[in-house]
Amino acid sequence: MIAIIDYGAGNLRSVKKAFDHLERKTMIAIKAADLKKADRIVLPGVGAFGSAIKKLQETGFYEATQAWISEDRPFLGICLGMQMLFEESLETKDTKGFGAFKGKCPRFKKGKVPQMGWNQINITRESPLLKGIPNKSFFYFLHGYYVEVENKDIVTATTDYFITYTSMIEKGNVFGVQFHPEKSGEMGLKMLRNWVEIC
């Protein structure tokens, strides 16, 4: 069972609908105890870093998710859900992310912010998530902050928006994507199918 974490901020319907379309069972987890029934977690993220972390703490998801990741259980963080895997964001200072990976999230300094629309991924190394997905494929991005990753070994793809930044990471069974696969048409659905089938 795929648990989609609902901490009361985002539009989770699109993530759920994408998995429905792939005929995969999902549940919307509204409290940490709901995760007991799950064998994989999706953390979609919208809104601001600080308020998202705060809501995760209030609902008990923060600790539960941190433990889940440290046990290397199947996890997919989308957009802000990927950024929260890192130590902190300049969007909200003094708020700690999960700290699963070293790095922080600065704001784009050039171009329109947020970056909104379809941009390409530059695949930097092989990944099971990218099976059947050609280099330079377009995905839908919507974000004002990006991840500055310390350990480049976890990076599987980058994207160019005035700078080149990390758009996909993975380590073991923990994956993060900066774009929205659930809103990226056929390629996005293919990626979600890959994720369900790999770990």
């Binding site: 809104g47 909104m116 839908y140 974000h143 160019d160 990226s184």
Partner: protein, 250 residues
Amino acid sequence: MLATRIIPCLDVDFGKVVKGIKFKDLDNVGDPVEMAKVYNEQGADELTFLDIGASYKSRKILIEVVEKVSEKVFIPLTVGGGLRSSEDMRNALTSGADKVAICTSAIENPSLITEGAEIFGSQCIVLSIDAKRHNGSWYAYTHGGRNNSGIDAITWAKEGENLGAGEILLNSIDKDGTKEGYDLELTRKISESVNIPVIASGGAGNPQQMVEAIKCGKADAVLLASLLHYGEYTIKDIKEYLKNKEICVR
């Protein structure tokens, strides 16, 4: 590289797609769910649905339409028309919309922009500006282009950004449905005044005019309606044309 977005717009009245000229003389052109599927297959980058029925019942039908579309079409969907509160926004978002567009209600109650941005995130809130020219300036109109608010459109765009809007949908009332091309001067002025994406709307008659809206008007996306609805061009044709003019498209 970030691609310029091509966004079909479906004006929906009681569950039917309609299209008018200068916001009047509405013509019935089809079923929104079927049209959404076709545009998705043609390569639409997003879809925008605007309820122009301006009644509770018409809006409710549109929400059902969006719900159906979102089960089949996995690209971003924007819903607008008659959303007056954060509760209305929530209804649209939970039905499957990714963004909500507000126009009249934002002018009447600017704090709605901030409230929506705080609850759902700025990326969800599209400020729709219906602008019309008078003596060298543009004014923001309300109620489907019927009433002049007296607010300068450029000032309003900047204020909307400050209040928390994540994107501007800029409609030229003067050009709407005319096929004379986008209002390039207006589009450029707004796009250069704000740091959020601007979608140019109103007046598209051929792909060259889209090139102008993007290159001269500095638009981040173009909205299309009648041109596609009447089958004069497909999105594929348009993207091919833009690509030849060295504009990045998906």
